[in-house]
Symmetry: C2
């Protein structure tokens, strides 16, 4: 099968591989659509030292599975493959299992291919009401929903989303859907317009002096964003960190201690509310799609996704 | 009246001043005992640019007050003088009032003097069961109680207190009193023995490799402590920041985002639980007292408090 893989020594390349073998408890999934995430671009630049098939944002159809009830189902898949035996897994926190593998990121071939495998436990059936180009957003949208799992977001709450990239815009959509008064701070008029269309205020970084937000979501993808987000929340406010950047950020701890700011690291999130929001039509991520490429054009797709200002690029292996 | 004051240009000095005038709604307090805090030492080194009478850890007796019911009462006092009119004050968060003055720290003469003034609203009567040398610890002990206001601490929770200074030990006492399984990480056998006496585990920094704590309290007073505390908590664990240090700390944001760590800045706390714990005898801070000086020996007292390894130094103006 055709697959877009990466080796640290060779970089990304497109090639033919054997159909992956579904292990015990796993399903073989025929990939319908896959999304390119910034993490994929970082892996191509050397992050995580990953070697294997890229990709973790997946929509597919189960082709083979020990549990035949799954065969033929349209599915999305959680990306953390937990050991199932440790204390984290016992607490239902397999996303934090210390020996987890992660689809297309750590020790597990990903979904930029005609086929991928995933544990049945990771699969979520996609309701018929959700079309393919919405469903492929379930994984990144779940990461945005993680914020409202971690922080109580009340209607009218003054929220700043710093960053108008893919993740920032999805976070803004989720927070807006919860009734928050959301301001998206970014650099690109085209992206900010997407936020404005869902009822967010928008502002550009060169001309913004608002402070005293109840909550700031740091999704700039830059280490400098943290200090700036801390300055923009009120005393006892919360900063949610979404950017996983290389390198260290400089933080003046007194700026956290004196106003008693809370910082919350936030990564992968729950699929169920993301699926529910897409099913209800409460969130429409399709304005984020800038391009769709055939899998055979995967290298071009990666280059396109890495262009400045480009939002979501999809791969279609069909 | 004799007072120990500080001017950025001249440093600390002892001198005679007029008896301070209690403003509207204020009480004139005759100081019985005052404690030297690290913040006082930092102010003497230039922190906050404060000019005036030093000191904010106060035990005294009300000598003059418009509300005569307070006259003759033994009191301790909250240190933040809020405006009373802003939205923070309206929410009962005067500790975060943007225009607040702070006793002996920002725009308000402190308590290293024979007399001090404080708003009546800041006073707490000290129950008879609490003796003077306990009562003078109410303010720093309240700062330790702030942690259990901010973080749910359950019995058996694995807690690391990084730092065996005054504040670290008070935090350890409060957390131990809540039934947590507390490890104090420090450098001084003598200080660690105080923690061991209240049932804490102890460890020295040169020989410590435990990780996966549920909660870490950063009270080392050093900017480097933050990164180390982050490494020692489990995924989804909490780091409470107590140190207000000069300068910037380096933080790898991915170490917060990927394990979804929460960081909580923590400053002044509630007096009521501190008074209740001292009244019940649940916490005995007196092992922290290393020395008591007459106010007339205030400069020697500051020097003593600044010696490495010295814990609480008290001033007695009587």
């Amino acid at each position: 099968v055709l697959a877009l893989s990466h080796e640290p020594a060779r970089g990304p390349e497109l090639g033919e591989r054997d159909v992956p073998r579904a292990g015990a408890g796993e399903a073989l999934v025929r990939v319908q659509l896959a999304g390119i995430c910034n993490t994929d671009l970082e892996i191509v630049r050397g992050y995580m030292g990953f070697a294997g098939v890229l990709g973790h944002e997946l929509l597919g159809v189960v082709e083979r599975c020990d549990d035949v009830r799954w065969v033929g189902k349209r599915v999305v898949g959680e990306i953390n493959l937990a050991c199932g035996a440790c204390s984290w897994c016992a607490r239902g926190l397999g996303r934090h299992c210390a020996t987890r593998r992660v689809l297309g990121i750590v020790g597990k071939d990903g979904c930029f291919a005609e086929h991928a495998t995933l544990p049945i436990a990771n699969l979520h059936e996609v309701p018929d009401e959700i079309d393919d180009r919405h469903a492929v957003f379930v994984e990144p949208l779940a990461a945005a929903f993680e914020i409202v799992e971690q922080v109580a977001v009340a209607p009218g709450m003054r929220v700043l989303v710093a960053g108008d990239g893919k993740l920032g815009l999805l976070c803004a959509m989720v927070l807006r859907d919860r009734g928050a008064d959301v301001t998206v701070l970014g650099r690109h008029a085209r992206k900010l317009a997407i936020a404005a269309n869902v009822g967010c205020r928008t502002a550009t970084v060169d001309d913004f002096d608002e402070v005293e937000f109840d909550l700031a979501v740091e999704a700039t993808g830059s280490s400098a964003g943290l200090a700036s987000a801390i300055e923009r929340v009120r005393p006892r406010g919360t900063v949610v960190l979404k950017s996983t950047t290389h390198g260290a950020a400089e933080v003046h701890t007194a700026r956290i201690v004196v106003p008693e700011i809370t910082l919350v690291g936030s990564r992968c999130g729950p699929f169920a509310p993301a699926i529910a929001a897409l099913r209800a039509g409460a969130i429409d991520p399709t304005p984020l799609i800038d391009d769709t490429f055939a899998l055979a054009d995967g290298l071009r797709a990666l280059a396109r996704a890495a262009e400045p200002g480009v939002l979501k690029v999809l791969l279609d292996p069909r």
